[in-house]
């Protein structure tokens, strides 16, 4: 399994024709203490770029946009009661949802970890 990243600080981890999606560790650091996460319903079809979640910290609310197209097959409901999981483990337990990909080819167009780290250097 490999992890790819977007310039909007989301990560995508491919597993067959499904992918796990969350926000990057850098993103959670920037947001600070996360207090609430609104996730979509399962079954929802997402196009690349669709807003699919809202992440709230004490002082900010940010939309999260689909890095890749697909159908929502599972959401991380633990985040509803424990949004701090994202602060503790943004790229692990703090995953947001699982997508069944419409076009797995889109995955290849995302940045790999090295490219993302280089991208962060430019911010």
């Amino acid at each position: 399994m490999s992890t790819r990243y977007t310039p909007d600080h989301e990560w995508v981890r491919l597993d067959g024709d499904t992918a796990l999606i969350g926000i990057s560790n850098y993103a959670q650091e920037q947001l600070g203490d996360i207090v609430f996460i609104e996730l979509p319903e399962t079954g929802k079809m997402l196009k690349k770029g669709d807003e699919f979640a809202v992440v709230e910290s004490v002082k900010a609310a940010s939309e999260v946009f689909a890095p890749i197209a697909g159908e929502v097959v599972e959401t991380n409901d633990a985040l509803t009661s424990d949004p701090e999981k994202v602060n503790a483990s943004a790229e692990g337990d703090g995953w947001f949802l699982k997508l069944k990909l419409s076009d797995p080819g889109e995955f290849e167009s995302l940045m790999d970890q090295e490219a993302y780290l280089a991208f962060l250097e430019t911010i």
Partner: protein
């Protein structure tokens, strides 16, 4: 000018410190073409004595409700306000403080808002309440917008029981935000078939109980029908004293409660400022508009309160905020909370019983007046009567004879011939037997 501390010497010294010669040097960026020498048509300042004289003269051109037999309700109610209430809300620390953005030095405001929220949630039997809104009508409009967000539908069904001006506000805001409303006809006799209007694309159904015409509406079947099709029940009230005696909306399946709290602690004041009340279920709290105080702890572990869930608000979300509302009605909420504290459960219950009893006595007395029909089988402290004549003319006639008889519905619904002969009449704990007899006698004479 008595409110301005500087002497001319102070001003000169300050200009010198700033490094300019004249005050107008500080206004240099105002375009020359737009600069004023002064305001024409506006007089110069006056002493406290003179201002008081002018304002008193204008006040004397109004007939104070307390000076005559008085029976108006229809969304604003005349109740007794204990002297303590006005003393507390005039304390400098409440009157002249700001929205509690610095919670360490605003615990007074935050704690009373938390108490207010608890009182509201308990009174309505809902899970959670916000820290107040502008008034009942705008709270109702916000409730409808919230229901749209929650259901992702855009059509609200408005009962004919709703206060006509509340309905107008909801329709205005709905139209402005591209939403739809289905409004049932005015319902002075509580006969409407609301259930038939609720369908799969209804986001919410808005019902007032006690209704604008005073009827107590059983919300349960409406809630059941709404929930069966995935819609929400927005329950509205304008007379919160009723909750001392009648089943709260939360016990009847309401999803959102919007109401007016003026009756507790706030004077009639010609319609404002009042205090909008808003309560809902826990699961909807993140879509609730308005400010809300929450409990937390400080760095030393001591309990304290803060404004919370503020990411929903416009100063952070800007064009993605849940509402554009900024202020609440803090001081009116304080008046409410202090009055409710003085009442307590025992006092509110007795106050409600007094209101109801006076209204029953009035209703029974009016029912005996020839040419007049009481339209209500059920009511709390106000009800509708039908008279054999134009309601507005009769109310005006009685006003000229020193009796403020009630609200002619035609004033709010001039286009509806069905209600041109309907008057909404209220009694409260302040209504005396003499008042009642004055109304009965004046109406008997007018309708003869």
């Amino acid at each position: 000018m008595r409110y301005l501390p500087h002497s001319d010497e102070d001003r000169q010294a300050m200009l010198a410190r700033i490094g300019v010669e004249a005050i107008d040097d500080l206004f240099a960026e105002v375009p020359v073409a737009a600069r004023l020498d002064g305001l024409d048509n506006i007089p110069d300042g006056r002493s406290e004595l003179e201002v008081e004289r002018i304002m008193s003269a204008m006040a004397r051109r109004n007939v104070a409700a307390g000076s005559v037999p008085f029976f108006l309700g229809a969304g604003a109610y005349r109740h007794h306000i204990p002297a303590t209430v006005d003393h507390v809300i005039q304390r400098s620390e409440f009157l002249t403080s700001y929205t509690p953005y610095q919670p360490e030095v605003a615990q007074g405001t935050l704690q009373y808002l938390f108490e207010f929220q608890t009182q509201m949630a308990n009174l309505t039997a809902m899970d959670v309440a916000n820290a107040s809104m502008y008034d009942g009508s705008t709270a109702t409009a916000e409730a409808v917008l919230m229901a749209h967000r929650l259901t992702r539908r855009d059509r609200a069904v408005l009962s004919g029981s709703l206060h006509p001006q509340y309905r107008d506000v909801v329709e205005t805001i709905s139209k402005a935000s591209g939403k739809r409303t289905t409004t049932l006809p005015a319902d002075p006799t509580a006969q409407e078939d609301l259930l038939a209007a609720i369908d799969q694309d209804t986001s919410c159904v808005v019902v007032q109980s006690p209704s604008f015409y005073g009827h107590l509406i059983d919300l349960r079947p409406i809630a059941d029908k709404a929930h069966a099709v995935g819609a929400l029940l927005v329950s509205v009230f304008t007379e919160i004293v009723a909750l001392g005696l009648v089943e709260p909306p939360g016990a009847q399946g309401a999803d959102i409660v919007a109401g007016e709290g003026q009756s507790i602690g706030n004077p009639l004041g010609f319609g404002g400022p009042y205090v909008g009340l808003f309560a809902t279920r826990d699961r909807f709290v993140r879509q609730m508009p308005g400010r809300v105080a929450g409990e937390t702890v400080d760095v030393k572990g001591r309990r304290g309160f803060v404004l919370t869930l503020s990411t929903r608000e416009q100063h952070i979300r800007r064009d993605r905020a849940t509402s554009n509302i900024c202020t609440n009605a803090g001081l009116c909420a304080l008046a409410f909370t202090v009055h409710m504290t003085l009442l307590g459960e025992r006092g509110l219950t007795r106050l409600a019983r007094l209101n109801h009893a006076h209204a029953v006595e009035l209703s029974d007395a009016l029912a005996a007046v020839p040419g007049l029909t009481v339209l209500n089988d059920t009511f709390f402290n106000e009800f509708a009567i039908r008279v054999n004549g134009e309601a507005a003319e009769i109310v005006d006639l009685l006003a000229s004879r020193g009796v403020l008889a009630g609200v002619p519905v035609s004033r709010l619904e001039p286009d509806n011939p069905d209600v041109r002969d309907v008057i909404v009449v209220a009694a409260t704990e302040l209504t005396t037997g003499d008042d009642r007899r004055a109304l009965v006698s004046a109406l008997t004479e007018a309708l003869a």
